[in-house]
């Protein structure tokens, strides 16, 4: 078979929606083409682009994983399709590189999971995902730890009244203890902020710690009614004022496709 005649034979899937959801038009597909199809099964529809199984094989993707230009194009196209789909109504967004072996296997999956997907679509109706990223200024947060943690405060007071030699050793101990206390205190801040969000907005949240994010700043994902964006922003401003002295800042981004909430309690 010539290269020209070789047909793509796997499906890149963007999202699942209710049957009848409008098909995106005039948007660049994941492979740079303009082909976006729909696969339906019962009351559900999945939006897909047929892609070459070699171009989207694990080996090729792994090999290109550090190619920021290529990955950026993938991210841009995936997000562009998602934006258009979201304008058409509620979707279950799938993360990048969700692939099915064939239309038949995708249809089978939709049929098998139909009850779960229907429940998810109901849950996501009228909602958007926002992200509150919690960032820590190293110096201010280090100082704040002493005020937050009793044992560190005690140690700090000991240093103030100790001889020069002893103070030197105690300062080293304080640094070590701060490192140990920082993770726990960070999680405490996260819990405080998550609680404040839930109290004010009565919404679903998913917190991701620094450890869960491979060392990146922790964040709280919020599933919010579409008309409550201003209330979240107001809360962010209140929280920013409350934590500013501790070197904690909050970056609010969104609305995102509700990737974090595209799961059920059964998952």
């Amino acid at each position: 078979m010539s290269d020209f005649a070789r047909m793509p034979d796997i499906l890149y899937v963007y999202a699942i929606a209710r049957a009848g959801h409008p098909l995106p038009e005039r948007v660049e597909a994941i492979d740079g083409s303009d082909v976006i199809d729909v696969v339906t099964a019962g009351d559900l529809a999945a939006f897909v682009t047929p892609v070459d199984d070699v171009d989207f094989s694990q080996a090729v993707i792994d090999a290109r994983a550090k190619d920021v230009e290529w990955l950026g194009a993938i991210g841009y196209r995936h997000q562009s399709v998602m934006n258009v789909l979201m304008h058409g109504g509620t979707i279950i967004p799938l993360r990048a590189f969700t692939l099915f072996a064939s239309g038949e296997s995708l249809r089978r999956h939709l049929e098998t999971e139909s009850a779960r997907f229907a429940k998810l679509l109901d849950r996501l109706d009228g909602k958007q995902e926002w992200t509150l990223r919690i960032e820590f200024d190293p110096q201010l947060w280090s100082d704040a730890l002493v005020r937050r943690v009793d044992s560190l405060r005690t140690l700090s007071e000991e240093i103030a009244s100790a001889s020069e030699g002893k103070a030197f050793l105690l300062r080293k101990k304080l640094d070590d203890e701060k490192k140990k206390a920082s993770r726990e205190a960070e999680q405490q801040v996260m819990a405080e902020i998550e609680r404040a969000v839930m109290d004010k907005l009565a919404c679903d949240t998913v917190a991701e710690t620094r450890q869960q994010r491979s060392g990146a700043f922790p964040q709280i994902n919020v599933l919010l009614n579409r008309d409550e964006e201003a209330r979240l922003e107001e809360l962010r401003n209140d929280l920013a004022s409350r934590y500013a002295a501790e070197g904690v800042t909050l970056a609010l981004t969104g609305p995102w496709p509700p990737y974090t909430f595209a799961v059920t309690s059964d998952d």
């Binding site: 694990q58 991210g75 841009y76 590189f97 969700t98 692939l99 072996a101 960032e135 491979s214």
Partner: protein
């Protein structure tokens, strides 16, 4: 929007749409013949993205 803003916006997008929850680094094995739903791992890249985000200024996307 400046180039830096655009870059950060793209990185924020990648941070959201690349999967962290399903794939454990290095353990995703794909068998197109046998597995219907395939998640491909890009955790190495994610680590890089996160590192860049950490050194950038926060930005609100609306």
């Amino acid at each position: 929007m400046t180039d830096a803003d655009e870059e950060l916006s793209l990185l924020e997008t990648l941070d959201h749409l690349l999967d962290r929850g399903v794939v454990i680094a290095g353990e995703a094995v794909v068998s197109i013949g046998d597995v219907d739903l395939l998640y491909l791992g890009l955790n190495v890249v994610l680590a890089n993205v996160d590192a860049i985000i950490r050194t950038s200024q926060p930005k609100q996307i609306k």
